[in-house]
């Protein structure tokens, strides 16, 4: 088991990015990206859950039999989501008021489950933890970019309300790039989610092609 940590990080963040390469987790990618801040929040919450559940599955990988593995994975993901939900509600309440809405949705995201099955079930605890973490961070990156494009084109702002999520210090990154009422409302509505996600998938593949990389489509084939 000598998957290098650098490969894990590269895979998660770019080469095998959950959204742009594997096309997994499409529901939160489109539903939660009406602004860059929302996308970022959803991504971070997902990353925490993915890192924790990947680690747990790897620790117990020799105890979980083939026949009951899927229910056990779902149980672990659901338990981690509930744990994060309760802990944030109690001790990080300001953050919870912004993110709380998104957290239960992580259970219905197929990206964590796909990584548990494809990676964590066969790897020792540390690589599995890192894979969950970097896949989650790649997911965060993708959602933030989708959210940013939709927010700029649809509303003319970038990172609006970031200070509600990250604290008053981040007031400075709340930008207005276009005058009010210049935005194309459709970009914030559901069609905008499909358009932006599709165009960004194309953009990533063009970048990869230009760099002479083989296009990875593992997710589209492996997990329907």
């Amino acid at each position: 088991m000598s998957t290098s940590y650098k490969t894990i990080a590269r895979d998660g963040l770019w080469d095998n990015n959950g959204v742009f390469s594997m096309l997994l987790g499409m529901c939160p990618s489109m539903a939660m990206t009406t602004s860059a801040t929302n996308g970022f929040g959803m991504g971070v919450a997902t990353a925490v859950v993915m890192a924790a559940s990947s680690w747990l599955v790897a620790v117990f990988r020799n105890r979980i039999t083939q026949e009951v593995r899927i229910p056990v994975y779902i149980l672990i993901v659901a338990a981690m989501v509930t744990l994060v939900d309760l802990a944030m509600n109690a001790w990080m309440h300001e953050l919870y008021k912004v993110l709380g809405l998104f957290i239960p949705l992580i259970v219905s995201n197929c990206l964590p489950l796909a990584r548990l099955e494809a990676f964590a079930a066969k790897q020792p605890a540390l690589p599995a933890f890192l894979d969950g973490l970097f896949m989650g961070l790649g997911f965060t990156l993708a959602l933030t970019v989708i959210g940013a494009v939709r927010e700029i084109t649809g509303n003319g702002t970038l990172f609006a309300d970031a200070s509600l999520l990250l604290g008053p210090a981040f007031k400075a990154i709340e930008l207005r790039l276009l005058p009010a009422d210049m935005g194309v409302l459709m970009m914030i509505l559901p069609p905008g989610g499909f358009l932006v996600t599709g165009l960004l998938v194309v953009a990533k593949r063009m970048l990869d092609l230009r760099a002479g990389k083989e296009i990875q489509m593992s997710g589209a084939h492996g997990v329907a």
Binding site: S35, R63, E67, V68, P71, V72, I76, A87, H93
Partner: protein, 213 residues
């Protein structure tokens, strides 16, 4: 059917094997169930305290602190509104006498129900209206939120007779309140909610303002 599924398995093994799977799954359920139960026990008091603070925050926006010396969150009264819906009324008191009340009002927006909190003083004058929850379109209907615009503040100080009932509508419907560009249904829903809230106050005035607890 030239390739039947693997030959009949050993007659003894399957029950034991499926028993083992059941035990594994059961053990995981038990373990994680316990973990969740423990977390719930640890967090339950903190979560209740946070919920109380949230309620206090939303009430303090519609019941000015100068109007009461009690804690309206715990001074409540349950009443049914005109639609038979149970409402919790929060009472603000000074020296025992009710100076103002606050309660939730409901309106139908573009994307379902909107929940608002409304504060009203004993003369029936609005102290404030705030949106608690809605599913309106971001960038359009969400201008009813106080942090996205001051539209919702225009109702402060108004009452059922001021303006007269038939003017409590958006301009498009012949009333006196601006809708916002591209969204008429949301403000219309908010206005209907406020109107019903004012009527609720008029209908229950004596019960609402009773001094006894």
């Amino acid at each position: 059917m030239n390739a039947p599924p693997t030959a009949l398995p050993d007659p003894v093994a399957p029950p034991t094997r499926s028993l083992m799977h059941g035990v594994i799954l059961g053990a995981f359920c038990l373990g994680f169930g316990m973990l969740l139960a423990i977390t719930d026990r640890i967090t339950v008091d903190d979560i209740a305290a946070r919920a109380m603070e949230d309620k206090q925050n939303s009430l303090s926006q519609v019941l000015p602190a100068t109007m009461h010396d009690n804690n309206p969150v715990t001074d409540t009264l349950a009443l049914k509104n005109a639609h038979g819906r149970e409402l919790t009324v929060y009472r603000a008191r000074k020296d025992g006498a009710v100076t103002a009340v606050a309660y939730e009002i409901f309106g139908t927006g573009y994307a379902g129900e909107m929940k608002l909190m409304m504060g009203i003083d004993r003369d029936g004058k609005l102290l404030g209206v705030r949106v608690l929850a809605h599913k309106e379109t971001p960038g359009l209907g969400d201008k009813i939120e106080v942090k996205k615009g001051d539209w919702i503040l225009r109702f402060d100080g108004l009452s059922l007779g001021n303006p007269p009932l038939e003017r409590w509508k958006v301009k498009k419907d012949g009333g006196q309140f601006d809708q916002f560009a591209g969204a008429t249904i949301t403000p219309r829903g908010v206005l209907a909610a406020i109107r019903s809230g004012l009527e609720f106050f008029a209908a229950n005035r004596t019960i609402l303002l009773e001094t006894k607890r």
